[in-house]
C-alpha cells in the first residue's frame, strides 16, 4: 500500500527496495524473534515496544534472540512496515499465528538490543491533508459547482476504508449525465464517482476494471500519504498535471535511493568495525 515507507524500511536494513516485508495494520500482531535480526520500523506509529522497551521508528535496530515485538497503541498513520535484513519468505501471504522464515540465515550474534545512531528522513510523507490528483476521463461529468467543491473542500475518510478502497465523506456531487459507462480499466489511486454522488479512492487491492465514472486519479507520489490516512482524517484534493506528477515521483524515488545508498554504506562500516 505505502510503497514509500516499505522502501525506506528495506533501505534501512540494506535490503533491495522491493524485498518482502511485513505490512501491519492495527490491532497489530506480536512478533517473537527466535533468531537475532536486524530490523526497521517505518510508516504508522503504533508505539512499538521490544520486551517492554519503547523502540524508535525509521532506524536500523539489532534485535536479540527471544525478543517480543509489540505495537501497543496507534498514534499516527494506518499501516506500519517491519523490514528484516535478508527478507522474509512468503510472498503476498496473509500471516496468522505462524512461523515466518527468513530468506537468509542471519550471521548476527548480538545478545542485546542495539539501536543504531542514524535515522531516515521520512519528512516526505508528512501527514498534511493535501493530495494531488490528475483529471480523470469522466471529470467533465461533474457539474461545475461539484468540480469546484472537489478541488478545494476538505473531505473526511469514512469508516469504509480497506486495502481495496477508501470511501470519502462529502455532500453528494451532481453530474451532468447519468449515462452508464462501459466497464473499463481502473488504477491504484483512481477516484470513482458512485451513483449516489459519493466517491471512493481505489487502493492497492483494487479491482482491475470498473464501471463507475473516473473523475480523477491520485498521483503516484501522493499515494503513500493518502494510504496512511485513517477514518476521520481529512484530505484536500488539488488538481495537477502529468509533468508535475512525473517530477514528484522522480524526486521521491531519488530520496529513497539516497537513503538506500547511505544505509548500505553505514551498515557496511558498522559491521566491519564490529567484527575486527
Amino acid at each position: 500500500m505505502d510503497q514509500f515507507s516499505a522502501s525506506i524500511a528495506n533501505a534501512l536494513v540494506g535490503n533491495k527496495l522491493n524485498e518482502d516485508l511485513l505490512e501491519i495494520h492495527f490491532p497489530a500482531c506480536e512478533i517473537m524473534f527466535t533468531k537475532p535480526c536486524l530490523i526497521s520500523i517505518v510508516g504508522a506509529d503504533f508505539t512499538a515496544k521490544l520486551n517492554e522497551k519503547y523502540l524508535p521508528m525509521n532506524r536500523p535496530i539489532l534485535v536479540p534472540t527471544n525478543s517480543k515485538l509489540q505495537f501497543v497503541s496507534p498514534k499516527s498513520g494506518k499501516i506500519v512496515y517491519v523490514a528484516v535484513q535478508g527478507g522474509l519468505l512468503g510472498q503476498g501471504r496473509l500471516i496468522k499465528n505462524s512461523e515466518i522464515e527468513l530468506k537468509k540465515k542471519p550471521k548476527l550474534t548480538t545478545t542485546s538490543l542495539y539501536i543504531f545512531p542514524w535515522s531516515a528522513d521520512v519528512e516526505w510523507r508528512k501527514y498534511s491533508p493535501e493530495i494531488h490528483v490528475i483529471q480523470g476521463r469522466e471529470w467533465e461529468r461533474l457539474q461545475e459547482e461539484s468540480q469546484r467543491k472537489f478541488c478545494c473542500k476538505p473531505f473526511k475518510i469514512s469508516h469504509h476504508a480497506d486495502r481495496m478502497g477508501y470511501r470519502l465523506q462529502h455532500e453528494s456531487f451532481q453530474t451532468r449525465s447519468k449515462e452508464e459507462i462501459i466497464s473499463t480499466a481502473v488504477n491504484f489511486g483512481t477516484i470513482q464517482l458512485l451513483p449516489n454522488g459519493q466517491t471512493i479512492v481505489l487502493m492497492a487491492d483494487h479491482q482491475t476494471t470498473g464501471g463507475y465514472p473516473r473523475i480523477a486519479h491520485v498521483i503516484s507520489a501522493d499515494l503513500p500519504k493518502l494510504v496512511q490516512k485513517s477514518p476521520g482524517d481529512e484530505v484536500i484534493f488539488h488538481l495537477t498535471d502529468q509533468e508535475t506528477a512525473e517530477k514528484e515521483w522522480v524526486a521521491q524515488q531519488k530520496h529513497i535511493q539516497q537513503i538506500h545508498t547511505i544505509s548500505q554504506l553505514k551498515l557496511y562500516e558498522f559491521f566491519e568495525k564490529n567484527t575486527h
Binding site: 490528475i134 452508464e180 466497464s183 458512485l194 479491482q207 464501471g211 463507475y212 473516473r214 502529468q242 512525473e246
Partner: protein
C-alpha cells in the same frame, strides 16, 4: 480471420502510471475482437516500461513503470509515440474461434435476491426476465475486475438496470446484471450489480479463470418455467 488496421482510436491517461487506448464507443463484437488482437500484439512484443495490460470491452490499458517513463526525455509523450507506431502495424484479428460454456442458473431465491426488485422496477414478469436473460448466447467481452469475473454481453435492452448506488457483499456464483452487461461473481467481493440468480458452475481452477475473453456463454435456467 482477416488483417485489419483500425484507424479510429483514442488514447487517454488513466492517472500518472497508465494509458488507455479506446477503440470504439460501444459494446460490439468486432471492436472487442480488435482489442483482444491488440492485447496479444502488446503481450508478444512488449514495450519497454509497460508492466501490465488490461483488455476491456472496447479498450486496452497499458500500465507502465513511472520511473522508466519519467526518465525519458519527453516523458509520457515518448511512450504514447511508441504505442501509436505499434497501432500502425496491421494485425490478425480472429472472429471465428471460441469455446461455448453452458452454465446452469437458479434464478431468484436467497442467492438471487434482486430478481423481484428488477421485476417490479421494469414491470416485467419474473419468468419473462428469466427467459430474456437465458435466451441469448453471450460473448465474454473481457475479464476483470477480480480474477475470473467475466463480463458478458449483450444483455437484452429490456433488462437494463443501473448499478446499485453502493457496492454490496457478493457470494461466489452470483449472477448479476448492470447496464447492457451480465456476469458472474467468482469469489467473495463487493459488487454493485443486481443479483438475479446463482450458479454452482466452477469459474476458477487453481485460481485461474475458466472463462476466457472471446468465449461464449449460454445460461440454462434450473427453475421450472
Amino acid at each position: 480471420m482477416n488483417s485489419e488496421n483500425r484507424k479510429g482510436y483514442e488514447i487517454y491517461a488513466l492517472g500518472d502510471s497508465a494509458i488507455t487506448i479506446e477503440f470504439g464507443k460501444n459494446i460490439n463484437p468486432e471492436i472487442n475482437d480488435h482489442v483482444i488482437a491488440r492485447f496479444k500484439q502488446f503481450q508478444e512484443n512488449p514495450i519497454q516500461g509497460v508492466i501490465d495490460l488490461i483488455p476491456s470491452y472496447h479498450s486496452l490499458t497499458l500500465c507502465y513503470n513511472l520511473n522508466d517513463v519519467a526518465k525519458q526525455k519527453m516523458g509520457l509523450a515518448s511512450l504514447i509515440d511508441q504505442v501509436r507506431l505499434r497501432l500502425e502495424e496491421p494485425i490478425l484479428v480472429r472472429h471465428d474461434s471460441f469455446k461455448l460454456h453452458e452454465i446452469p442458473v437458479n434464478y431468484g431465491g436467497k442467492n438471487g435476491s434482486d430478481l423481484l426488485r428488477v421485476s417490479q422496477e421494469k414491470g416485467i414478469d419474473l419468468y419473462e426476465i428469466i427467459r430474456l436473460h437465458s435466451e441469448p448466447t453471450y460473448r465474454v467481452y473481457m475479464l476483470g475486475f477480480i480474477p475470473g469475473f467475466a463480463y458478458l454481453g449483450e444483455l437484452n435492452k429490456a433488462l437494463t438496470m443501473p448499478r446499485k448506488s453502493t457496492p454490496q457483499p457478493m457470494v461466489p456464483g452470483s449472477v448479476g446484471i448492470a447496464g447492457l452487461q451480465t456476469g458472474i461473481y467468482p469469489s467473495f467481493s463487493p459488487g454493485g450489480w443486481n443479483i438475479i440468480g446463482h450458479t454452482e458452475y466452477p469459474l476458477l481452477e487453481n485460481g485461474m479463470p475458466i472463462l476466457q475473453a472471446g468465449d461464449r456463454v449460454k445460461f440454462i435456467p434450473l427453475n421450472q418455467l
